[in-house]
Symmetry: C2
Subunit: 356 residues, 2 copies
């Protein structure tokens, strides 16, 4: 299906000991590769959403710790570990809602902590960060293969935000399932919600699907329910930033689509790797990131709202699991009752130890 | 309550025989009055949404016919009427969904057709157009008084698009009810949805409510359902562009809010003058305007989506009446079953004859 070279959203550049990534704020106008040589650069890139998407944030977190390790000039293991710890804390603070970020940071930090020397720690950190990235690709392919079985031979799928190649190392989660369905010969059309206020749907999902020759139509977020009413949508598939024992956190607007899908009897699917699961917590324990008013009050230099009005700009919302018909993971499709199917997911801490 | 001079969105300027209006595409940056001296100018202003909002379009249609009458140089009554007829057809073609536009055009055209001379026709046209505008203000005040009784003493109301002073001559329909509730001493906070793709919520509703000192918070359209889930919204109130015997046509996104309101047990109210009713028709007979792809694919000069992707840009959606808890009009609050309460509305053609 993809005729062009596959995207690689984020990677470790061994020669220079730095992170290269596609700056997603420049899309769809330009697809440009950037380089981070310091953890501060990376933290800024994450805050500015140059790197975004839950799985990609996991990789970024992992590579950020590797970057801190490689760049540390401390020869003393204790001081070296303090350097790495500060970097991990800085990275962790950039985005509070996506759990994958902390997951990636922790995975590499745990390896570093096991090292007997600074030299060994640096090598372990880079190896683990690369393992996280490579596993992400494998995870997306497996998840895609499980998920595409849920798709009819011909269908129109609604998606929100970007859970695509650009949100991962490549292939994608929700869009990975769509790619897998297309690769399996299914006739899939995609309706992409623009995803206000930062338009990841218009800028990223439309761009990467059009690049792959997949049929995609852009709509305003607010017209999804009306298209469901008109019978134009067969299923909804989205990614996730965190899955607690009772809810799916994902880009603001996801909950609205879940409510509308239920109202119209349309299946609502979440595609997410196990690194997104945080089953020790409940919805009420999670901080939903609030972003700057300017994202809504301005579009570039153009003022959209008076400076005197309040703005409430949640980056995410929470969809209770009773509105979710299936969660597609790399170990299979989880179905309600989730209290039972979540047992398959097991203890995330245990999983990390196995490097899975 | 309003400390500043009340807005007057559109008016007939007797001295110059022209229409003056606030160009709403310049808000919130600038509040500037423009003048139309030809029907072609007015048609362009309507298509560009410089003048918008169902009741204001009714006034614009009425004044447009008056403009054509006043500006016609034909001395022969037959040729004069042909001039006016062509102007009416041009204006009617500008926006297919809002019924008020055709209603305003027809009201003045009918008066013109009754005239015995060109001179009389011109005088009747201007008088009738001004009557439409004056009645609109009275209608909004009455509607506001009926509607505010539905508001609790303290509440947060969600609204979508702009059904405010800027959508009427002044005061507003949905925002008129909010103004009336505030004027009655109630503690009303407003959540304004930005209303993609043209941001009438951000640009117009936020601007006019902030101007009046009413507490308003801007949100992306997609977060309304999540705020309902969090218990932050007590009621929804919107305007309408056309009410058929089975559905309310209003700005795209309205249906989504109605579905979410029902899911959360929150009342969903529509505020609309009788000129919005089209009870001889059903939803399936109405053309929903589709607007240009550029409204979604660009923001000013900034490209948001690749040129190669399809865009589906419905300007309106239809909410079935079973999701509407009340329709607030200038003759009172209509409640389900609407098949019965619509009898109060009577025959619109008959109402027009009474100038009501």
């Amino acid at each position: 299906m993809p005729e062009r070279e596959e995207l690689c959203t984020i990677a470790w550049e061994r020669e220079t000991g730095s992170i290269v990534y596609i700056d997603q704020t420049l899309l769809p106008g330009r697809c440009e590769q950037m380089r981070c040589t310091t953890v501060e650069d990376l933290a800024r890139a994450i805050r500015r959403l140059e790197v975004r998407g839950a799985p990609a944030l996991g990789i970024a977190g992992a590579m950020g710790v590797a970057l801190a390790a490689v760049r540390s000039t401390e020869a003393d293991l204790g001081r070296f570990l303090a350097d790495v710890g500060r970097a991990a804390d800085l990275l962790r603070s950039t985005r509070p809602t996506a759990v994958n970020l902390a997951w990636g940071i922790d995975r590499v930090a745990r390896k570093v902590a096991m090292a007997a020397s600074v030299v060994e720690a640096k090598a372990l950190a880079v190896a683990e960060a690369n393992a996280v990235a490579e596993e992400d690709e494998l995870t997306c392919r497996r998840l895609g293969a499980f998920g595409e079985e849920l798709f009819p031979t011909a269908c129109t799928a609604l998606t929100h935000c970007n859970a695509g190649a650009l949100a991962c190392r490549c292939w994608g989660t929700a869009l990975g399932v769509i790619r897998s369905a297309v690769a399996a010969g299914k006739d899939v059309r995609v309706i992409a919600c623009e995803t206000r206020p930062l338009n990841q749907g218009s800028r990223l999902t439309c761009w990467e699907l059009a690049r792959d020759g997949i049929d995609v139509t852009l709509i305003p977020d607010s017209s999804a329910a009306y298209l469901m009413r008109k019978g134009a949508i067969d299923l909804v598939i989205v990614g996730a930033d965190r899955i607690t024992k009772d809810a799916v956190f994902n880009k603001i607007g996801t909950y609205m689509h879940a409510v509308a899908a239920r109202h119209h009897g349309i299946p609502f699917y979440v595609a997410a790797p196990l690194s997104t699961f945080d089953l020790a917590r409940t919805e009420s324990e999670i901080t939903v990131e609030e972003r700057d008013r300017a994202e809504l009050a301005y579009c570039g230099d153009r003022q959209l709202a008076p400076d005197s009005v309040n703005v409430l700009n949640y980056a995410f919302d929470a969809t209770p699991l009773d509105l979710v018909d299936a969660i597609i993971t790399e170990i299979g499709v989880l179905r309600p009752p989730y209290s039972e199917s979540f047992r398959l997911v097991g203890n995330p801490a245990h999983r990390r130890g196995q490097g899975a």
